[in-house]
Structure formats: C-alpha cells, structure tokens
Symmetry: C2
Subunit: 405 residues, 2 copies
C-alpha cells in the first residue's frame, strides 16, 4: 500500500525482452496494491547513438536542438514501456517531462529543475493508471524542450518522488545495490543493506557511478528515501536513508576509486595573495569542476599549485592556464593523466580518528606513493599512480575489514 | 523572393551525409532571398524500426503510446537537420507538430488536422530563422501527441503551406518527379513537367506511391501549388497545379498499376434490395477501404458480388463476410490475391471518347484477360492477372504514345 516511484535505467530497458520484464514487475507492484509511478531512461546506448548522429552533422551542437534530439530517446522508451505495461494487463499513460510538470531553466544540455507540478501524474494515479515519465527532461521558461543532462533520470525520479510525496524512490539498475567497493576489482565486495545520504554523496563524488551524485544531493536535501536495486534479479538492494544517531556506525563503509581525473601543476608560482583566486576564478568561468587543490609550502617565495580536473576538460584547462602563466609570473604548467583517486568513506570516521593514518600505512606497505591528499569529515582521498589503483582498492578493502558481515 | 515550404522525405535525410546535403540546399534557398519553412520525415527506415520495437512488447498497439513512440522519429530528424542548417551558417529552430500549431482530433495513429495555428512558425520567419517542423504530427484536443499516419509529412507540408500562404510546397523525394509510368517497369517512362490536381489524385489512388493521396487531396481542396522533385539531383521536377482550361490536354497522361489489393467474391447472392448495403456497411464499420465493386447481371435470381480490399485487410474481411454468408443466403465467399490493377489517367479523356476501348484492345491483343473494370471521368482501370501486369503497363504506355515528348 505504498506510493512508489520506480526508475529504470538504460540497460534495464535495453531491448524488448527487458522492457517486458520491467513491465511485469511494475504490474506485480500494482496488483499487490502499491501506487506506482515509473520514470524511464533511454534504451541501452541510445543516447550515445544520438550524440554520434549529432556529431555527424554539427560541430557546434546547438543546445536547443541537442535537447530536442536527445529527449527523443526517453520518449521512445517510455512509449514502449507503457505499451508493455498495458500488455501486462495494467492501464498506463506515458508523459514527457513537460507533460509531467517539470519546469526548468533555459540552460540547454544541463537544465536545472525550477519546479515540479505533477498534476497530470496525480490525475493518472487517481484513475488507477500507471504514469510512465520520460527521464531527464522538462520544458523551459521559454517553452522549449530541455534535457537535464546525462544521468538526469535519477534526478527526475527523486524530484517526482518528492513532489508527489512518495514513500520511497526505487532506482533500478544493472547492479544489485551499493557495494563496499567495485565488485569487478574486489570480488569480496559486499552489498550494503543501508547507507546514509552523506556517505553515498561522498561515494558518488569519488567514483561510485550510480546513482548520479545530483540525484543523491536532491534526495538528501528533501529527505527522499532511496532504494538502489537490480532490474535483473529484483532482489532487495541498498536503502539510502538518514543516519540513525544511536546506531553503531561502521568506521569505514566503502572504498571508491576514480580514474576520470587528470592532475595539473603550476610550478614556481610567486607566493602572494590573490594568485590562487585568479587561477580558480578563471577555471570556474570555464565551468570546470576543479577538485583536490594542493599548494605546497612556500620555498624562497615561490610555490607549486596542483589540482585535478576531468580528463575531457584537460586541453581547455591547459590552454587557459598556459595564458595565465606569464601574467602570474609562474615558471610553467604541466599535467599528468596517469593518476587515480582512491577514497575511504564512513560516517563513523567522525568519531574515530586514525582512519587516515591506517590508510596511509596500507598504501605505504605496498610501496604506493601518495601524490595528493584531501579529506572531509567522513572521507579520506589519496591520489596515486593509475597503474596501482586496483591494488590499492583491494588492500584498503581488506585492511578495513569490509568483506566481513 | 518566394515563400516556400520544403518537405524532405525519409530517404532524403537517411544519414548524416544526406542531412548535410539537404541543409546546404535549404541554406542556398535562404541566401538567394527565399523564405523557407522545412518539414521533415523520420530518417530512412526509422518508422519501420519503431513499429518493429512496438511489436516486440505489445500485441495491442495502444494508440496514444504508439503516437508518442513514432513521433520520436521525426523529432530526431528535425533536430539533426536544424543543427546541420546552423552548421551551414543559417539560423534555424525545430518545432514539433504541437509547437508548429497542428491541432488534431484524438484519432491516434491516423489523426485528422482540425486547425493549423502557425504563430511560432511566422515569428521564426520574421526573425530570419528557418523553422524546421516535424512531419505527420500534432497535438490533440486532449493535449496528447498525435500521429497523422504513414506518409503524413506530405500532408503536414501542404497544410502548413496553406496556413502561411506559401507560394508553393516543394515535396523533395528520392524520385525526380511524377512519371508517365513506373520507370522500373517502363524504361521509356517520361517525367511530366506538369500535371493537374485531378490527374495526380487519380494516379495516387491507383498505385502512384508519391506524394501521398491525402496530401494531394488537401492541396487540391486549398489550391496549394505542389512541386514534386528530387532531393538527390535538385533538378526541376513536376509541378502540380490547376488545369488551365484553354491548354491542349494530353488524352492520356500516365499509366499506373497497383498490386496491393485482393479480390473477394460473394457467390450466389439472392438478387434483392439491401444485400449490397448490408455487406458494404459491415465492411465500412471495419474501416476497410473497398474498391472496384462489380455485381454481375442476375441469373435466375442470384448474382455474384466482387470487390477489392487491401491485401493486409483480407483475413479480417473474409472472417466478417464469412459470418454474413448464411444471413444473406449466399452460396459462399472466395478470394484471389493474384490480381493487379492497371489504370490509364488523363484529363483529356473527358472530351475524347474511345480511351477505354483502346485500352481493352491493347490488353486483348496481348491475350490478357480483364477480370473487373471501373472508370471515372478521367480514368479507366482494369483488374488483370498479377503475373501479366508489367506487360500490360508497358503495352499501354506504348499504345498511348507516352514516351514521346
């Protein structure tokens, strides 16, 4: 008798067989008495296919047209899933982002949700019909179709769950939940039965690919309970909820890793106020997400500044910083793409000092050099050589006893 | 300095190379000073692919969801074409059927246009931008996405040309115009430089595949000048206009043929009033297009009724008529799928008797048996054995001198 939003990712609806399996699951939920609202992504690799088509005709990728193009993928998936739910004996209606009431800003390719007015969704539910909503889309204040960005379907699902007051938002994907580490690297990795919003947010920020970080932020801000689970086995997955203060916290809950960043170093920077501000304002104006900023102690009035940027932004960033080097009076700029970040995350870290020390010891025992370090209240991250990151993840997973139940 | 609607069919935009070629053509028109509005179909075989996907998940094909699904094809094409027109240096905006102002009834899969309110199209033109409209789609009076049916993009183009008062509607396709016969069968077939609405309407009703009959009807009713031409060679094609009364009419303009119909015969029908009405009302209720109805002279108070129905409706029709046979007191019902229709069409026929006789003589000389005959003021059609239809078309094309200029 719960009201649920169920979101299905691209692999969950990758072909007609998968779509029928998902439809059967939705129909089972409805028959058991639940109210179900479905959110669906584009099928399989469809979004990539559409982007490739766009590259075939356009170098500029005009935003309004890109959004019109890409959202066609979710429309296809939602119409097909709706037909399959009909076929499973349950009435269902598809809704575009616009029809579902997602009003966004005009920032094409990466629109932000301004408001959700789920009137048609509520009306469909009241009539006993399953609303099937196209993920990652809305209509802008200029009345144009907008796309919320890659991974935006998770955000659609969470925002809709909040707007209709759902009891939970189920994110169905191709893994069975959130794991203590990537199971492809650590075979002993264990599925977590529950995790806090804060921990999952740190995990998604440091390499855990699903759910999207933005959707976890939205869920955390609006206290929407998430259930990350498999669209293939349908078994219980990982619940994401607020921390229960009186519960015993695991000191470390998970080890994550991330190979998507490159390191930039500006060498011989004069150690005077305003230099860092100048560099990072310029990068911010490029809309680049800079992370792990490290400034060495000043030596004879000059210092080095290192930071990480996404791999695919590196060329733009090197060009920009290259221009700034003369203005700053720095010696030069260099980059390193052979790096990886490994992080340990756990809410229990707040009250248990020594996690960082244990982490450094573990890496040191393996002879793995730590190039950069950053920390938050519930996370410690180290930048290491990319070639050794899998070893590091495996060793840390063992060292913190994550395989044990 | 003309205001033109340019419609591009699926093969014209079948891949990124084709889309760029079309965009260059549109840009050339705009640079030469024309006002251009573009209507585009789904790419290549995309609509067939979408229908196949639907069959993979649904036996019922619910109309609302089918329309949501199929119209995704035109959205893709219009967004890509728009990007390519941008790339060619001309600003362009894509519009869905809804955004372009196509209000339709709620008859999904085959919606009728109720009204066209091209406000956003006019506004884009006024700003010097090229509107690119998704073909064959609209929004229903229930605020749902609707599809105008296969071949509906031609109708979208003609209706839009009428609504904005365009000087002409150019239908770009994979053939260079309207021919005196199918060039695949008659190598000597000649492209017509002009043809009347009435003649083209008869041609499309009897097997000429392009443009769609519905679009020709719309153009004829609203006097929208059509130009059927090639999206591959860009040469002048066939103009479709009103007849000029004082012009010398060709007695026969074209020979068409059609293999898409099957013949049904109800044998031993009591010859009394109301029998034909009972049969054809029942078929009309199935929404079957019945054609070429022939009733033989009564012999001893019973008669045979023969008529043609589309091949893909034959099973449904046989089932229905089978049920009626007892009620009517008829002897039985039979069908023949090995038939084809060959037709000669010409506005000059109105004032030149003897065309039918010449046609029958030509077929008789070849020993081709005529199974059924139907005529209009500007057309004579004969049903013949499907195996001999190519021979019949070739002979008639020669007999009426259509290869000569």
């Amino acid at each position: 008798m719960a009201l649920l939003v169920q979101k299905f990712g691209g692999t969950a609806v990758g072909d007609p067989d998968r779509i029928r399996a998902v439809a059967d699951h939705v129909a089972r939920g409805v028959r058991s008495g639940d109210g179900v609202v479905v959110v669906v992504s584009a099928m399989g690799r469809e979004t990539d296919d559409l982007l490739r088509l766009a590259d075939g005709v356009s170098s500029a990728r005009p935003g309004r047209e890109m959004d019109m193009l890409i959202t066609a993928g979710e429309r296809k998936a939602m119409a097909l899933l709706c037909m399959a739910i009909h076929e499973a004996g349950v009435p269902a209606d598809s809704f575009t982002g616009s029809q579902a009431g997602f009003l966004t800003d005009t920032n094409h390719m990466n629109a932000r949700i301004l408001e959700v007015r789920p009137d048609r969704i509520r009306a469909a539910l009241d009539e006993g019909r399953v609303p099937v909503v196209g993920g990652s889309q809305g209509v802008s204040t200029d009345n144009d179709v907008t796309f919320l960005g890659r991974g935006g379907s998770d955000t659609t699902a969470v925002a809709l769950a909040h707007a209709i007051g759902a009891d939970a938002c189920e994110l169905y994907t191709d893994v069975t939940g959130v794991f203590t580490a990537d199971p492809r690297i650590v075979p002993a990795a264990r599925r977590l039965s529950r995790i806090s919003f804060d921990e999952l947010l740190e995990m998604t920020a440091t390499g855990c690919p699903k759910p999207s970080m933005r959707s976890v932020e939205y869920a955390r801000a609006h206290r929407v309970r998430l259930h990350v689970r498999s669209a293939f086995t349908w078994q219980e997955g990982t619940w994401v909820e607020e921390e229960v203060p009186d519960m015993e916290q695991a000191i470390v809950s998970a080890v994550t890793h991330d190979l998507s960043e490159a390191k930039m170093t500006i060498a011989g920077v004069p150690d005077r106020p305003g230099v860092a501000a100048r560099v990072f304002r310029a990068l911010a104006d490029l809309e680049v997400s800079v992370d792990m900023i490290v400034q060495n102690t000043s030596d004879h009035g000059v210092t080095d500044i290192s930071f990480t940027v996404p791999h695919d932004e590196l060329d733009r960033c090197l060009a920009l910083v290259g221009e700034l080097v003369a203005e700053l009076g720095a010696a030069g700029v260099s980059s390193d793409t052979g790096i990886a970040r490994v992080s340990v995350i756990g809410a229990g870290m707040r009250t248990n000092p020594g996690v960082a020390a244990s982490m450094f010891e573990t890496l040191s025992d393996l002879g793995i050099n730590i190039q950069m370090i950053s920390t938050s209240a519930i996370r410690v991250s180290c930048m290491v050589d990319a070639d050794r990151v899998e070893e590091a993840v495996q060793a840390l997973h063992g060292a913190f006893g994550l395989a044990e139940v």
